[in-house]
């Protein structure tokens, strides 16, 4: 177990040492929050859906956790490039533990980023309705983080170099984000779009956060939690399997 811990600790150290990166990674969520939050606010209000900033804030938090956890999983590619991956692959430790350490580390970093953006949201004017259920929002962040860190590791293990990176970004990460209902309500969508949103795991994460922070939900908070936990478990198994097959 000490191997899991030391690899988790490594992710923490790397996170806290890259201050520039922490600040840089806040740029995109801020744009979505402030520009869309205030820009689409009046239209949203007129359509009778209430305050858009309130609505979009959980979506922006979910987006931050999504990006951060996928990137940490894909960090495998950087480790492959800079060689550190080999050091862990020849270590006398089961690969499962190495994968677990990485995934947990990546998930922790993603949750911390999510918390940071939550604070920014509150500063920008986001007001959760239920304060008592706020710890539950943390659980949803953690679930999102585990799902996508595991997905990141699974993909990172399968790619040989950085060329696939752009492909993954444009055809996987961005669609996951846009189809998640982070930016729009999930009710009353066209059939095809409704179907697409319902197979996107992030939809459940963001819906769950809206449920516990704002009291509005599409699927129901318990369904959200169950779906995320199940998808997370499946992706962890796939990630562990792919990771165990890495040859250099």
């Amino acid at each position: 177990m000490s191997a899991v811990y030391i690899l988790w600790l490594r992710e923490m150290k790397r996170y806290f040492r890259s201050r520039v990166q922490i600040v840089a990674s806040l740029g995109q969520p801020l744009l979505y929050l402030l520009v869309l939050g205030f820009g689409l606010g009046p239209v949203f209000q007129r359509a009778g859906n209430g305050n858009y900033l309130q609505f979009v804030a959980p979506g922006v938090i979910g987006m931050t956790v999504l990006f951060s956890s996928i990137f940490s999983g894909l960090g495998l590619l950087f480790d492959r490039q800079f060689g550190f991956l080999k050091e862990t692959l020849v270590a006398p430790v089961p690969r499962l533990q190495i994968m677990a350490g990485r995934t947990l580390g990546g998930a922790t970093v993603a949750v911390m980023q999510g918390l940071l953006v939550s604070v920014v949201c509150v500063i920008a004017g986001f007001r959760p309705v239920h304060f008592a259920t706020m710890p539950l929002a943390l659980i949803f962040m953690l679930l999102i983080a585990v799902v996508f860190s595991a997905l990141g590791v699974a993909i990172g293990s399968s790619l040989q170099d950085m060329q696939g990176f752009q492909l993954i970004m444009n055809f996987m990460v961005m669609p996951i984000f846009f189809l998640s209902g982070a930016l729009f309500p999930l009710s009353g969508l066209p059939r095809v779009l409704a179907l697409a949103t319902s197979i996107d795991p992030l939809s459940y994460g963001i819906d769950g956060m809206r449920a516990v922070l704002l009291g509005i939900t599409h699927f129901g908070a318990s369904t959200d939690a169950v779906v995320l936990a199940a998808v997370g478990a499946v992706l962890l198994v796939i990630g562990a399997y792919r990771f165990s097959k890495i040859e250099i």
């Binding site: 000490s2 191997a3 811990y5 030391i6 690899l7 490594r10 150290k13 790397r14 040492r17 890259s18 492959r80 490039q81 800079f82 060689g83 550190f84 991956l85 080999k86 050091e87 862990t88 692959l89 020849v90 270590a91 006398p92 430790v93 089961p94 040989q160 170099d161 950085m162 040859e247 250099i248």
Partner: protein, 264 residues
């Protein structure tokens, strides 16, 4: 200490390692020489559990690295052709991480880290991030790290590539010192024949995946009737230049170099 019999590795129709057999005795420094693409690194990867052989058998300290992976891994240290340090961590942290992964008890870990970092002249800079180190310092740190868990075998895959003569000289002095002090078996590859001649007790030459000569540097020179190991090497492997097709590993290496260069 190392025993390899009829080892074969093919990638599709290409046979990278073709029916190779050799033995390395305990405490020996064994140099594995060959032109680019001859199969040196592939052999090391198979011995160190990173690749599965197509056929043949291997033994490291009596253990088959294929079936008893973790036990075998505990017994060897390796310095790869490409750096494998975490640049964001300090020298001491890289050692610590390695020690934990190799189950070295806390107290011993501290003690050996200090000994080795002092021996490799890195103790003063142990708190600095590795990305600020020079190429020679990084290499020394990797070798020090390889020795941390008191392995019985140390693999060195072109450890002196890109180093200046001073660093190369110093590096081999250290390796020889630890080899004598701890009776570590050293398995190395290099393109510098003078190094192999000076450091290695025994040499094997591989070309196109096949072993073409084996013996002490003296024996190999006698066999080929040449005065230096470099001439012997050229006599054995010919003077045509081998162009390896650039695989993804090479592309990554170039990219990594660009990346690092850009950061400076």
């Amino acid at each position: 200490m190392i025993r390899v019999r009829n080892l074969v590795k093919s990638f599709g129709s290409f046979t990278a390692v073709d029916d190779v057999s050799f033995d390395v005795a305990e405490g020996e420094i064994f140099a594995f020489l060959g032109p680019n693409g001859a199969g040196k690194t592939t052999t090391i990867k198979m011995l160190t559990t990173l690749l599965k052989p197509t056929s043949g058998s291997m033994e490291l300290d009596g253990l088959d690295p294929q079936t008893r992976q973790n036990e075998a891994r505990q017994r060897f240290g390796i310095v790869f052709q490409d750096p494998s340090l975490d640049g964001e961590l300090s020298a001491a942290e890289n050692m610590e991480l390695h020690g934990v992964l190799y189950h070295v008890p806390h107290k011993l870990r501290r003690q050996r880290t200090e000994e080795l970092l002092k021996l490799f002249e890195l103790w003063e800079r142990r708190g600095e991030q590795v990305k600020k180190f020079s190429g020679g310092m990084k290499r020394r740190l990797e070798i020090a790290r390889g020795f941390l868990h008191t392995p019985k075998i140390l693999f060195l895959d072109e450890p002196t590539l890109g180093l200046d003569p001073q660093s190369r000289n110093q590096l081999w002095t250290h390796v020889k010192k630890v080899n004598e002090a701890e009776r570590v078996t050293v398995f190395l590859t290099t393109h510098y024949m003078d190094e192999a001649d000076r450091v290695a007790h025994r040499i094997a030459v591989i070309d196109h995946g096949k072993l073409v000569a084996q013996g002490t540097p003296q024996e190999i020179k006698q066999q080929t009737g040449t005065a230096s190991l470099e001439e012997a090497f050229l006599a054995l492997t010919g003077s045509t230049i081998r162009d390896e097709s650039a695989g993804s590993a090479d592309q990554m290496r170039q990219f990594a170099q660009m990346w690092r260069g850009g950061k400076r």
